[in-house]
Amino acid sequence: MTTTTAPAATTAAGKPLPRQPWNRHLLAIAVLTVLLIPLPLILPPAQASVAVRVLIFALMSIGWNMMSGFGGMFSFGHAAYFGIGAYAGGFLLVEHNVSPWIGMLVGMVIAAAFATLIGFLALRYKLRGAYFALATFAFAEMLRLWATNSEFVNRAVGYHVPLRPESSWWWMQFEPASANYFWIALGLTVIALVVSVQFVRSRAGQFTKAARDDEDAAAAVGIPVMRYKLLTMALSAAITAVAGAFYVQYFLFIDPDLAFGSSVSIQAILPAVIGGVATIWGPVIGAVVMGPLNDVTATILRNPPPALEFLQGRGGLDVIVYGALLIIIVLLLPQGIYGALRKRWSRR
């Protein structure tokens, strides 16, 4: 009767529970932050602005990854949340002289509310996969079209952030090459990373992952699936909205295409997929790789090595190279860079 797999409670006590990676992630974030703080002081200003752009990408993508990676709800419309963040910041600052920090918070709240609304509709009507993705896309596009034609948000003109005579933390405005921009972006990204670590290890995060893996089974163990999916979407939207709000203050300008265009949604997806979907580090690694890529190819082609001289000055070539690299990376590393690395580590 007694087989090897028979319930023998005695073995349970001896085996220690496996360690969880969360604290290691947090430690890595801390180490990385310390390493990166001096970066803007080392980099030439043009590259420092690339670094800021990388951080904006990372921030957008950390948001996307939360909903679409950990939550499994593929969003092709994160431009909606990015744009809401950007417009909230721009609108409040330009029209009502409100600090960008407050604008950022307001943007987060509105984006979260909008995401909850879209999520409720999409989940209520049981949209999944490509259908869900296209629904999110449609909402982002509708926002873009609305903003383009709405007097309320200054139509297609959008907003210019007025320049201030002096640097100010409260107004988030500094000298153009100031390291402060990088540090703010770094701070926001680090917060977003910590939030995503804490989210994944939290009850909500575990429930969300369970619901992604199997919705019915999750409901059967007692998880209110809808509630946690909406929560995840709201959090995801809020993070991406932060990226939008910062974008406006850094680039000092926003218009409907920049805020809600479909290329924005792609920019939110790209780093996570390249770096590794549903991993903490994927969006960051992806942003670091893809962010400067355009500039690097453009730079190389501007002053090409002798072998490639014939390519100099041909418009569009850098984009071709970019497209080719994109395909190669996605084909060779379908689980993303971090996904591939992790696989190697765990095999060891």
Binding site: R24, L27, A28, V31, L32, L35, L36, L39, I42, L43, P44, P45, A46, Q47, S49, V50, A51, R53, V54, L145, T148, N149, R155, A156, V157, G158, H160, P162, L163, E175, P176, A177, F251, L252, F253, D255, D257, L258, W281, V284, I285, V288, V289, G291, P292, N294, D295, V296, A298, T299, I300, R302, N303, G313, G315, G316, D318, V319, L341, W345
Partner: protein, 414 residues
């Protein structure tokens, strides 16, 4: 623990690499020039790829020709004959790319910038220019809002949307009255962006002053429109005797095709700053249907011998007909060069002051030289009226710029 460190390293490494990859060329340029070296750099920011690449490449070529002309004439004489060097950048038509490219050009030592075609990109670049205190001369970008920021370092050679719309309405009124058939009502078809709406508003205000009835004003989305037949049918139903069209190239062609199909009873199709009607390829694309189309637009002055020479040079060098955008870029570089000459220094702040107080001859048709007002707007920027005659756009009004007489009503059949 080891994993953590490896990870940190793996993350830090690409950043560092990217930085190196980016900075290497910057290093080479430091060796090659800057202000202390042999050349003075001027940045050219245009969309060399993307949907506006055709115009962007034209404009970049125009800027190149200007630099060559100045260098061939002995460079900047007040600075010992120093040569100019044009550093071109591709904005891809994207504001954020335009912004970082502008930053890069300034970092590489550009003492002035010209650009950029799209209003959104120009707006972003103007901010960069203002913060770095480097002069930026806008060749093409008509949105009024760009110069409404009170920036001190942004100048615009071409007329603003408001000027275009206002002059457009005046020209129409004058030409039709001269022909003895004053315009009674105008229907408007315009793209829905800031450009189209600003032109519409200015045109409407001015036309109504002259007692012309304006309406309906129909907007369309230039990026996605694929047919304008229904809109033109609305115009036909309204009974307007002139159709005003404010838009870009592709939609301008669609409008012309729709007019040809629907055949409304119009005395004229009248573009204001239309991106199609005054281009040489427009009659080729729509054929006889384009005959008689007006366009009130800033335009290269083909009555000037210098302009004719430049057009020939462009044709022989790039095997393409020069467009006004390229001429504006050419002029914009001339503006900076003249300022360099006047200031006797390549210091951006001094160049800026010289631009603000200077006066530069232009190849664009207008009442005079390029001269900037307090907001940075070119005070002498006005459009002229063009009309497609005999399969090519001709300057027809005002009389002193006319290559031919305006034909109004433009369509014989009426």
């Amino acid at each position: 623990m080891r994993k953590t460190w490896t990870l940190s390293l793996a993350l830090a490494l690409p950043l560092a690499l990217a930085a190196c990859g980016g900075s290497a060329p910057a290093g080479t340029t430091n060796g090659g020039g800057g202000q202390s070296g042999g050349t003075i750099k001027i940045g050219s920011l245009h969309p060399l790829s993307g949907s506006s690449a055709a115009d962007g490449q034209q404009m970049d070529n125009g800027a190149k020709l200007a630099v060559e002309a100045i260098n061939d004439a002995g460079g900047i004489k007040s600075q010992g004959g120093k040569k100019l060097e044009l550093v071109s950048a591709d904005t891809q038509g994207k504001p954020e790319v335009g912004q970082s490219e502008a930053q890069r050009l300034i970092q590489e030592g550009a003492v002035g910038l010209v650009g950029t075609y799209q209003s959104a990109v120009s707006a972003n670049v103007s901010t960069v220019a203002e913060r770095n205190k480097v002069p930026f001369v806008i060749d093409v970008s008509s949105a009024d809002s760009i110069l409404a920021q009170g920036y001190k370092n942004t100048f615009r050679v071409q007329p603003s949307s408001t000027v275009l719309g206002t002059s457009g309405a005046q020209f129409l009124d004058q030409v039709s009255k001269a022909a003895g058939k004053p315009v009674k009502s105008v229907a408007i078809l315009h793209e829905q962006g800031p450009f189209g709406t600003a032109v519409r508003d200015a045109f409407k205000a001015e036309a109504e002053k002259s007692g012309i009835k304006v309406g309906p004003a129909i907007a369309y989305d230039a990026a996605s429109v694929s047919d304008l037949t229904t809109q033109v049918t609305q115009v036909k139903a309204s009974g307007a005797d002139v159709l005003m069209v404010a838009g870009y190239y592709r939609d301008g062609v669609l409008a012309a095709k729709a007019v040809d199909t629907v055949k409304p009873a119009l005395n004229a199709v009248y573009g204001v700053a239309n991106g199609a009607f005054d281009l040489p390829q427009f009659p080729k694309e729509v054929g006889a249907a384009g005959e008689g189309y007006f366009d009130a637009n800033y335009h290269a002055d083909m009555t000037k011998p210098d302009m004719q020479a430049l057009a020939q040079l462009y044709q022989s060098k790039y095997n393409d007909a020069i467009r006004t955008g390229a001429v504006l870029a050419y002029d914009s570089v001339q503006v900076i060069a003249a300022a360099l000459e006047k200031a006797g220094s390549a210091e951006p702040a001094k160049v800026r002051d010289a631009i603000a107080s200077g006066e530069v001859p232009t190849l664009i048709a207008g009442p005079g030289t390029i001269k900037f007002g307090p907001t940075g707007e070119n005070l002498n920027a006005t459009p002229i009226l063009m009309q497609v005659q005999g399969g090519a756009p001709k300057q027809v009004f005002p009389a002193d710029k006319a290559e031919a007489q305006p034909v109004y009503p433009a369509f014989k059949s009426q």
